[in-house]
Symmetry: C2
Subunit: 260 residues, 2 copies
């Protein structure tokens, strides 16, 4: 009656609450897609419909258990590929969620789960791969309102999405991550639209240009985007490091060494 551990197959309901917490990996994947109302692009993310209890039928972040032979980031990548077909370039750890009330339906006998959540950015071209896969258990939702009025997202996933949104909005102001939403070449107006969609406010085009042209990681090409009904804008290219690591703004722990 008072053993601390019990094998997973030899536990009754009251003992199961004493099992060590299990580990899961989930990912918040952001993409910019044109809003329904034919306006500016807005933030969307793919969610998967749960087919098991608890929260059966509700939408949840893609994720799954951590296996014994993969690192945390590898597990996130594998889960992403298996559940959504996506392989994001930008992938970074967000937070470890381990509260006791995460299920918010305190059902007796449910094993406690600690989720290590990653966040990712994908380009629209990558994002379309998901749509083509036709599985109606995976669908895009607006990042700011997903789960509103539908009984909410599963578990504490609405809260996790809000935290990821906060991180994205913060990090875009000091780190070079906006390019991960765009293709290899882009106009300054497209890049500005990314910032405006994420920050939720308009930016002065002239001041935006001044700051970007002063950024060495942004390189002007000699090509222009034709086809608009106005003066063709110049195309630019991002020439900085491709991943967040080992960028100076947030070095991956495994790349750090002591200060000399």
């Amino acid at each position: 009656m008072s053993t601390v551990f019990a094998g997973p197959f030899g536990a009754n309901v009251s003992e199961r609450a004493q099992l060590p917490p299990s580990l899961a990996i989930s990912t918040v994947i952001f993409a910019l897609k044109p809003s329904r109302a034919e306006g500016k692009p807005t933030l969307w993310l793919p969610l998967v419909r749960r087919v098991k209890e608890p929260f059966r039928g509700q939408w949840a972040l893609p994720g799954g258990p951590l296996t014994a032979v993969e690192s945390l980031e590898d597990a996130a990548r594998r889960n992403l590929r298996e559940t959504t077909g996506l392989a994001p370039e930008y992938l970074e750890q967000l937070y470890a969620f381990g509260g006791l009330d995460r299920s918010s339906r305190p059902e007796q006998g449910a094993q406690r789960v600690v989720s290590i959540v990653y966040w990712a950015l994908v380009r629209p071209t990558e994002a379309e791969l998901l749509v083509e896969s036709e599985r109606d258990n995976v669908a895009w939702h607006r990042a700011d309102t997903a789960g509103h009025g539908e009984g909410g997202l599963a578990f504490d996933h609405r809260e996790i999405v809000d935290y990821a949104l906060w991180r994205l909005r913060n990090k875009i102001e000091y780190a070079q991550i906006a390019y991960h939403f765009l293709g290899e070449r882009f106009t300054l107006a497209q890049l500005r639209e990314v910032y405006e969609a994420i920050l939720g406010r308009t930016l002065d085009p002239a001041n935006f240009r001044r700051q970007l042209t002063a950024t060495p990681q942004i390189e002007a090409t000699d090509e222009f985007l034709e086809g608009g009904r106005h003066r063709p804008p110049r195309l630019y290219r991002y020439v900085g490091p491709p991943t967040p690591y080992p960028a100076s703004d947030h070095p991956h722990p495994s790349t750090l060494r002591s200060t000399p």
Copy 2:
């Protein structure tokens, strides 16, 4: 032979590598203490000597397993109290470390461990409690050089400390956390010494004063620090929120709501 899970008590060596990873909580605790060389204060942290394999005899971060009935932060606090006697005011999640090579001694049969690491700041008065506890399996080490020349710290803990140092140096530049190293009242020179010790460079006293007096969370008291052999400096007080949550610089996930 191909079962994915096996009960903890029914596994042989080859099966044990297939066990789901277990969870541990560790904490990097920073305190400012006067350097041995009778100079400026420097960063120190308490480490625990391992009494079990692997890494028996080497120094490691205080920590322990996560039990089923406590949140991640509660587990960090409990472990801190049990191993070091400390109860820091400032405690925040740092990162989840889950690489496959964390033990760096790939011994057959050792179960894989994922560590969720917290970091904490304590005042010198709190820090002295540890010294009084007389347990020579717990001792203070310099944060920048702990493990150098002694065969290193256990596991990947040197790497974790470096990452925590990087976070501390970054966060002190934009968040109000330096006060957690000091008592309730302090002089501007004391506060400046905290910044200088962490950032590793001297700051202009006049400019430092100008910035601090423009900070509304810093309040001048009508008291002065007597006893020096010079003009007595005014004492100041920090009147902002006591914990990092729900400060605007890094809201705790559980305090976030959607943007309106």
